[in-house]
């Protein structure tokens, strides 16, 4: 056997370069911190006390419990059964369809609506977590006037009186909001503003895509956002557009992208990403190039010149500077694009007019308008205009505006109607509470011709009012939102379709499905106008020694709207795995140049703005770029000063300023009338201070014992991948190491009924972390806070291990491996439990019995996947309102108990019982785990492995299937499918090919 070269995977730079000591230490789940202080005698004392307590408790009655039935029970309500209501997510303006699971009058979980044409059943981490906003005890309950409690009657009267004054004085009225996709609300605002001689609705998005729309205004005569069809594109070129992570409508794009990369259907698109920092999208690219933000325009010019030459189109050539990307590669890319005319897509994430012109020009030359960029049925998910915002700011400076209404945005934070008192709300005279989207009627039109419905799922908490109701009251026609919505639909939406002739039937259908498909709004685009297009001939490079700034949204915080949400603060970032902080991310080379390590606080200076942030060293980032996440440092996060267990040794989760992270928005700058997130020049210097980041990237590292290393090669990697070329030749490519070992206890588990199993397609997984939050909501997983995470005590049952590796080209590659309890057949945890608190079930589940567990932690110690979590504390459940989100089907665990993924056994039980009631077997697809249900990429399959026709059985038989740490022969019930990168063969595949050839 020839010596095989195995690819090395590493989770952090320290691990890559580490000495054997560090490698040994990573095998420990909880690294030691200082000397042990708990001695045997102390242990005996504590045991004695516990026994004493147990004896003293033996003889008493349980407290009286009440059972309070409804007085009048509606027919469809059965206490203990869940109802699902179709609604629309308002976590951002993408308008994904969801099903709210309502139990005994309160929503407890949001699931994706599989029929929804935008989201196709997925729901992102933000959407999943948005349910917590409903039960936020700090949500505004009543109107505020000058910071004091007021009533709707009072504020309505005063505001109406003042508006009458302004109207007679011909004063200026401005309504500032984020993108509003609701047609009813937009019409109401329009009608409201019509009553004033000088009134305007200004729309701005804190994560602006203004330039993309402005560019289309000039090239196509229409200020629209085309609907991108990633499923129809065979070649995708993205210039710093993080469309799988945070860009415009990530769930929709992920579903489409996944559809275009379906190995089973033999369809796989080719995706090239150019970006300055590692993004979720870049981590999935087949080829990824690190390009400075200032060079992006130049790169577009190079590409445009090549395509223009092929299309024989005129483009003033000039003499562009050389670009850092290999020109042979650009030639090849241009060939591929040209070959895939009308089946390719170029997206550009920069908020820069010139770059967007070039991107439009490229898409135009390639004939992509129509097939992959739809202008007839455009997307309405981002409509903000930076120009309008700039105009408004100027007007405000001159004191021209008499009344300013702000809805849903937080301009005082980014450079009201509000659900919470945020930075803007403290400045406003009147603060009017708006209802959460789960307690009010609303609609949304995320894509022209697709109108989605939102319906209330709970009796409103507090005295809030929806925006349409408020405006209707000011228009002098107060009405409930339901009536307003129906009126608008009957007049405007219903006539846009012909299928249904009865409005009531149409409405009922729409409310039931959660959406209605109607004719798109008529629009007419003009001939492509190439007038404005100018090639960009020079790159903008920062001065030597300085850095270019890249401000970016994270999957969790977005623009800061989620700063109130502890689940999202605790969600490890898909790439950096850091929680509860933002940081200055720099490349390893830059870190060496500056002499900083992870957690060293660095000072960023740009103009007169200054920001001190801990450094984080990020592989795959441009050496002259420093990247900082937006959305942190919000006043809304001040509440987390006391999150997590408060014990002697606890450290607060918030920073020096009393909030989580620091607001990087002051570093934003205006350029040519648009907000620039990239490119500002900053100076970076050391401060000498330290702030340890709570990063989970090196926690729970899987290690392979040396003796199990296959002979003649390095250890078998925990991630297995291959290239498309090799896969097409042999679908087993990448899993050659796979070997079925003999079972030592073949008769131990006969599995006569179903056997539950899971398959995870790593090729589809984008690392978006929606599953992590879905699991947290479903299974009542507590929030532990920054300090506990620092101590490796995060409680997530499902984690996504992110591995880096280096391709031959030197490109840093990322592999995601969602990891939860593998429900092993020969589970190492089961054999070591002294009290049988973890045992095997007859349908293949590794059961964890909380009430039997005494907390020895032997099981966690013996788990090779490090999938078990220990309750070090009784995590806080003091907030009575927030407790309403707890899933009543899952026990809330207490201190001293081990827990782990259960394959959502509560859902399995429900399906089994219901199937039995109907007198049938559990049908395939009836049990969907929480992670599987919400996955936008549909990367998770779950079902009965004993049923040869189930989807999961078929995926288990897929030639790409392997198992993590298979050599241990613990026989896990979770299979993984290899990552297939669309590339020529590499490494050992290539050498093999040469050998065969």
């Amino acid at each position: 056997m020839s010596k095989r070269r195995t690819k090395r995977y590493w989770k952090s730079l320290k691990e890559r370069d580490a000495s054997p000591d560090v490698l040994k230490a990573r095998a420990d789940e909880f690294p030691e911190r200082g000397p042990r202080q708990f001695r045997r005698r102390d242990f005996l004392k504590a045991t004695g006390f516990t026994l004493g307590v147990a004896f003293a408790t033996g003889c008493s009655r349980a407290p009286v419990q009440r059972a309070i039935p409804l007085l009048s029970q509606p027919e469809e309500v059965v206490p203990g059964r869940s109802l699902f209501y179709a609604s629309t997510c308002a976590g951002c303006s993408a308008g994904c369809g969801l099903l709210a699971k309502v139990r005994d009058g309160r929503p407890i979980k949001l699931e994706g609506n599989p029929q929804h044409p935008v989201s196709h059943g997925g729901l992102c981490a933000t959407g999943q977590a948005s349910i917590l906003g409903l039960y936020d005890s700090q949500r505004l309950r009543h109107p505020l006037k000058e910071g004091k409690k007021s009533s709707w009657a009072e504020v309505d009267r005063e505001i109406q009186a003042e508006l009458a004054n302004i109207r007679s004085d011909r004063g200026a009225v401005r309504f500032l909001s984020g993108t509003i996709t609701s047609p009813t609300t937009r019409a109401a605002i329009e009608e409201f503003l019509k009553g004033f001689p000088d009134a305007r609705h200004v729309v701005y998005d804190p994560l602006s895509n203004s330039a993309l729309l402005d560019a289309h205004e000039q090239t196509h005569g229409l200020r629209v956002l085309p609907r991108f069809h990633f499923d129809k594109a065979e070649v995708i070129v993205s210039l710093d557009a993080d469309f799988l992570g945070t860009w415009i409508s990530p769930v929709e794009y992920t579903a489409d992208y996944r559809a275009g990369r379906d190995l089973e259907a033999k369809r796989i698109s080719y995706h090239v990403q150019f970006e300055p920092r590692m993004t979720v999208t870049g981590s999935k690219a087949d080829r990824r190039f690190v390009v400075a933000p200032g060079e992006m325009g130049l790169l577009l010019t190079h590409l445009a010149l090549r395509i223009a030459r092929k299309a024989a189109a005129p483009l003033t050539p000039g003499a562009p500077e050389a670009v850092s990307v290999d020109s042979a590669f650009l030639d090849e890319l241009a060939d591929r694009l040209w070959h895939a005319r009308g089946r390719s897509l170029i997206v550009c994430g920069a908020n820069d007019l010139q770059q967007q012109f070039l991107s439009n020009y490229l898409n135009h030359l390639l004939g992509n308008y129509g097939p992959t960029l739809d202008l007839k049925q455009p997307s309405l998910q981002a409509q903000g205009s930076d120009k309008e915002l700039g105009g408004l700011l100027a007007e405000l400076q001159y004191g021209k505006v008499k009344a300013l209404f702000i809805h849903g945005v937080n301009p005082a934070f980014d450079f009201s109607f509000a659900q919470r008192v945020d930075e803007t709300a403290v400045l406003a005279r009147y603060v009017l509470p708006e209802q959460h989207y789960l307690e009010s009627w609303n609609d949304a039109e995320p894509v022209s011709g697709l109108v989605s419905v939102s319906q209330p799922t709970i009796h409103p908490l507090g005295d809030a009012r929806s925006l349409v109701e408020t405006i209707a009251a000011w228009n002098g026609k107060p009405k409930p939102a339901y009536d307003l919505l129906r009126e608008h639909w009957e007049a405007e939406v219903f006539p846009r379709q012909k299928k249904e002739s009865n409005f009531d039937a149409f409405w009922d259908r729409a409310v039931h499905d959660g959406f209605a498909e109607v004719e798109p709004l008529p629009i007419k685009s003009k001939q492509f106008n190439a007038q404005a297009i100018r090639p960009i001939l020079k790159a903008q490079r920062p001065e030597p020694g300085a850095f270019a700034l890249a401000l970016y949204p994270t999957v969790a915080m977005l623009d800061g709207r989620n700063a109130y949400n502890p689940w999202l603060h605790e969600l490890p970032d898909p790439i950096t795995k850091v929680t509860w902080d933002n940081y200055a991310s720099i490349s390893p080379a830059a870190a060496q140049r500056l002499g900083v390590a992870d957690g060293d606080v660095v000072r960023l200076e740009s103009g007169d703005q200054m920001l001190d942030l801990p450094a984080f060293i990020q592989p795959g980032q441009h050496d002259q770029v420093v990247a900082v996440a937006l959305g942190y440092g919000s006043k809304l996060s001040a509440r987390f000063a006391k999150v997590g267990p408060q014990w002697l040794d606890a450290i607060v989760s918030v920073g020096d300023k009393g909030v989580v992270g620091l607001n990087a928005a002051p570093l934003l700058r205006w350029s040519e009338g648009v907000l620039q997130y990239h490119g500002a020049q900053v100076k970076v210097s050391r401060t000498g201070r330290q702030r340890e980041l709570a990063s989970t990237q090196t926690h729970n590292t899987l290690t392979v014992p040396r003796k199990l290393t296959p002979p003649g090669s390095g250890p078998r990697p925990v991630v297995q991948e291959t290239t498309l070329a090799a896969y097409l030749k042999d679908p087993h490519a990448g899993v050659e190491d796979h070997e079925e070992k003999e079972d030592l206890w073949p008769t131990d588990h006969p599995y006569t009924g179903p056997r539950w199993g899971m398959v995870i397609d790593q090729n589809a997984c984008t690392g978006c972390s929606s599953c992590v939050v879905a699991c947290q909501v479903e299974n009542n997983i507590p929030v532990v806070g920054r300090d506990e995470i620092r101590r490796n005590r995060e409680m997530h049952w499902l984690r996504i291990d992110r591995y880096y590796s280096e391709a031959e080209s030197g490109q840093i590659e990322v592999a995601y491996e969602p990891l939860m309890c593998q429900q092993c057949e020969n589970a190492p945890c089961e054999t070591v439990c002294p009290v049988l608190a973890t045992v095997h079930s007859e349908d293949g589940l590794n059961q964890q019995v909380y009430n039997r567990c005494i907390g020895t932690r032997y099981c966690a110690n013996n788990c090779p996947y490090k999938a078990r979590r220990f309750n070090w504390f009784n995590y806080a459940h003091d907030d009575q309102l927030q407790n309403l989100v707890l899933n009543p089907d899952v026990a809330v665990r207490s201190r001293g108990v081990m827990e782990k993924c259960t394959f959502c056994v509560q859902r399995i039980q429900e399906a089994k019982i219901e199937a039995k009631r109907r007198g049938e077997k559990v049908p395939d697809g009836e049990v969907e785990t929480a992670c599987q249900q919400s996955c936008p990429a549909q990367a998770i399959y779950f079902g009965d492995l004993n049923d040869p026709n189930s989807q999961v059985s078929k995926m288990m038989a897929n030639p790409r299937r392997y198992r993590v740490l298979e050599e241990l022969n613990v026989r896990p019930a979770v299979g993984y499918l290899t990552i297939v990168r669309n590339r020529p063969p590499e490494g050992r595949e290539k050498s093999k090919e040469e050998h065969h050839g």
Partner: protein, 250 residues
Amino acid sequence: MATPRPKPSGLLQYLGSPFVTLVLLTALAFSLMILVPKFNAYALPGNQLGYEPTQPIAFSHRLHAGELQVQCLYCHSGAERSRHAGIPAANVCMNCHRFVSAPLGAIRAEDELAKKEKREPQRVVSPEIEKIYDALALNEKMQPDPARQTTPIRWVKVHNLPDFVYFDHRPHVNAGVACQKCHGPVETMERVRQVEDLSMGWCVNCHRGVDRSGLDGNGNFTSAPAPAAQGPVPVTHRVYASIDCATCHY
């Protein structure tokens, strides 16, 4: 090989001195004083046996289920469809008590009295049934009185299980387990009493027995409805009581 333990610093150096023991014992005594009243939050299995709390309305199961032969599932309809059997909503009571406002004897007595006194018989409402009308804020004509607040009825739960147990009525009722098997002869009880200890051993013993000898030991391994076709009973119709932990604990 053993390296000498580093000398403890700070407070740790006082560990083991009699003073510390004294302090700890005092602290233990004080903490017990605080903790003991809270101990009743924990209960051992069997403690609740014979629990028979007074209810806000003196509802008699003996009368309804025994004498009048009202089916259990008429009021506790959730038992077939949900985890919880459920306590009926007041509008279920009103299906009958819209017309029945007092025991028949009391109404007859009033009729006779009225005849004797030569007047129209008055409406007789028993004080217990009055409580339902009050809860629903109904007036004399059995119409909702907008001036009054409805108040939910706060029944006292008799059969309580710990929070880590997920009992489900559905499979039991649908397999044909009689309600009395666990709840006792409710139709003879004036006030409902817990007659079984509801401990895990009690559950598991029954589950084991069912698997060995069928439901109630009658060799009946099939649950209704029986499959129409002849042949072996399909797995899905077999009464099978799992003793996996995750059947109840998750």
